[in-house]
């Protein structure tokens, strides 16, 4: 009716998913320059960089009159609200209000613990203090030159738990992804973080869960036989925490590829999983390129098979487990304890100022 175009409707934040306490990927480091809106954990947040370039994540709306701090600007390393120029430091404290000497006690924004590593900004969910450090992944740091790498990112309506439990669901590799081998693919839960040493230094025991998947004598489509992968023994070492995973793929005991998987829980109906894939270099550029392309294509095809399931599955239904679901069930139990921890910690947060 109006001749003028209506402004775009306001996005309404959807409820937070049942989320475990943990480290999550907020966004790639390169995407964070000026203050920007961030929707994470079903909450409206703002991400920005302080004077030293350190990333900070705060609740989005100014405690004064609820203006959007993402419209603000960095002035002397502090986030300045556009509306009345209130300034906040990286701890969320209001440090300056023009025209006012005494800063009111309520002028404090909630902040989230942040780490920047592996080219991502990681944010802790579940209370004010991280319960364990962000895990190490040496393959992307000290040992990076051993691999060709690429980054991946996929969005899905599935919950973080569904994405993370996928690696512990060894059976779906045979059915959905059609992995054929001489015997059945087996899954062994690991007992000790040190058992996953190939993935990196041990992760805090309480947060950690790991497994080893093995298949004897892989059977690949005949077309792939000439490249010599046929008949090799396959193993996948996966370990991680509640917001991410480290994976190492072996053929005949040799590392062929690694992966770092991070979860970005945007809202109850939107999750992004993103991270790095690393393909072992053999030293000959053309072979490396071929291996990189080969790995990348099978990774993409496999992910698309997973995404189709994620997109259409219904959360909270399908609870008839059978014996080969022991990995998934073990993971869900572990995950739930961290959902409970997150809830308790968030509860404490809202009580204490």
């Amino acid at each position: 009716m109006r001749l003028k175009p209506s402004p775009p409707p306001r996005p309404s934040p959807s409820a937070a998913p049942e989320l475990a306490a943990g480290w999550y990927v907020a966004l790639p480091s390169a995407c964070l320059g000026r203050p920007r809106r961030l929707e994470l954990f079903g909450r409206e947040l703002v991400a920005w960089r302080d004077g030293a370039g350190r990333a900070a994540v705060l609740a989005r709306y100014c405690p004064h009159l609820s203006a959007d701090l993402a419209l603000g600007k960095i002035v002397e390393g502090e986030l300045r609200c556009r509306f009345h120029h209130w300034r906040f430091d990286a701890t969320g404290a209001c440090v300056d209000i023009p025209g006012v000497r005494r800063i009111p006690g309520g002028a404090h924004q909630r902040t989230y613990p942040v780490r920047e590593r592996y080219g991502f900004v990681w944010v802790w969910y579940g209370g004010a203090e991280p319960m364990f450090p962000l895990p190490d992944f040496p393959a992307l740091e000290a040992q990076r030159d051993r691999y060709t790498t690429y980054r991946f990112s996929h969005g899905t309506p599935a919950s973080p738990r569904r994405i993370l439990e996928n690696a512990f669901d060894h059976y779906h590799f045979m059915t959905l992804h059609r992995v054929r081998s001489a015997g059945s693919l087996t899954l062994t839960m690991l007992a000790d973080p040190a058992d996953a040493a190939e993935n990196g230094p041990p992760i805090a025991t309480e947060a950690w869960l790991g497994a080893r998947l093995e298949a004897r004598a892989l059977q690949l489509p005949r077309a792939l036989s000439p490249i010599g992968l046929d008949g090799k023994d396959f193993a996948l070492l996966v370990d991680g925490w509640t917001g991410g995973q480290r994976l190492t793929f072996f053929l005949d005991g040799e590392v062929v590829a690694k992966e770092l998987l991070g979860i970005t829980p945007i809202s109850g109906s939107r999750t992004v999983f993103q991270g790095w894939s690393l393909v072992r270099r053999v030293g000959r550029p053309w072979l490396d390129a071929l291996a990189h392309l080969g790995y990348r294509s099978q990774h993409l095809l496999g992910t698309r098979e997973d995404l189709a399931i994620y997109r259409t599955a219904k959360e909270g239904t399908g609870t008839v487990p059978v014996k080969h679901d022991h990995g998934v069930l073990r993971f869900r139990k572990h995950y739930q304890t961290w959902v409970d921890r997150a809830e308790a910690a968030e509860q404490n947060r809202t009580v204490a100022p």
């Binding site: 003028k4 175009p5 402004p7 709306y61 609820s66 556009r82 009345h84 023009p98 025209g99 009111p104």
Partner: protein
Amino acid sequence: MTETEDHTRRGLPPNPDGLNLAASWYIALSSGELRSRPRALDLFGRPLVAWRDGGGRPVVMPRYCPHMGASLALGRVVDGDLRCPFHHWSFDASGSCVAIPGVSRIPTTARHAPLPTVERYGYVWVWYGGPEPAFDLPDFPAMEEDRGAYAGFRFDDPTTGTARQLLENGIDYFHFMALHGMSLDPVNFRQLHDQKEAADNGPPIDDEAWFGVEVDGTLKNWQLRDNPVGWLHRMVTTFGSGTHFRLLIDGWPGGQRFTTYIEGEEISKVLMGITPTGDYLTAQRGWAGVRRTNKHWKTFLYFLLFYAQNRGGTAQDIPIYNTTATGRPASYVRYDNVLVKYRRYYQSWVEHAAADQSLPGEAP
């Protein structure tokens, strides 16, 4: 206790989510938008229809025919009555069904209650908050008897803000400095307590419905060479005619009148009305004009500067309107004391509207 409850307990005005609309006069549409054909209109989150009766008077009433729910906006005005396209039921300007073809006895429930309507300043205004207006639509002589003394333009700015956000913006004087970069120093801001002080805006408004403030300050006298941005800002604000700035704002719960003075001389006037379409869909509409001078070129220059100032300022405000959260407690500081009073005043008129539960269209 929720944060919001705590907020109210401490004597601060509530800060509700959603429409939170005060009883008041609002702009339904501009006079030019309503011609001989009825048209569909969404206001206050309700589907309405606007049309003109035989005398050309605007009528705003619920959109759907009480018979089978057809949209009366598809109808036609026949002999001064609005005729539904579906079964040709006809409604007069009082909302009563006056003719049903093939039926001699018209059911008593076949009626719509129109909203109180006034056409003025080139807009159709409707009253929200009960069947009877609690006060008259305020006068604004600059658009009527003094129209010739001004060169003005109309504005229409849709936002995803709320009516209160748009209205309290003038009361929030501190944002003139922070957001708009006005270099007012020193600056005095006060609430007006006597309508005589706002006489330049127009005749008095109903006392209960009235709220007025005044900003009085001196702009830094930036020179072009030292601070080109500051200089330009001052030129656009004052038309280069001085540094003493005074802004008089008064209004009712759904609109405001503005007069700006430089060195005590009036330079411009604004009338702002609100079109509350629905939740987080609110437009500010109205007219802004400069006082004519004795030279055409000067008036034209002032008009251009004022246009730039008004549109530029609005372009800074709109992203704030569109993204500011509602329903959260506020941390007020010293300079917000009049804003807090404004919010209390506004809320008392929200309660006035809430006290009248009858929706338009329900037979009284």
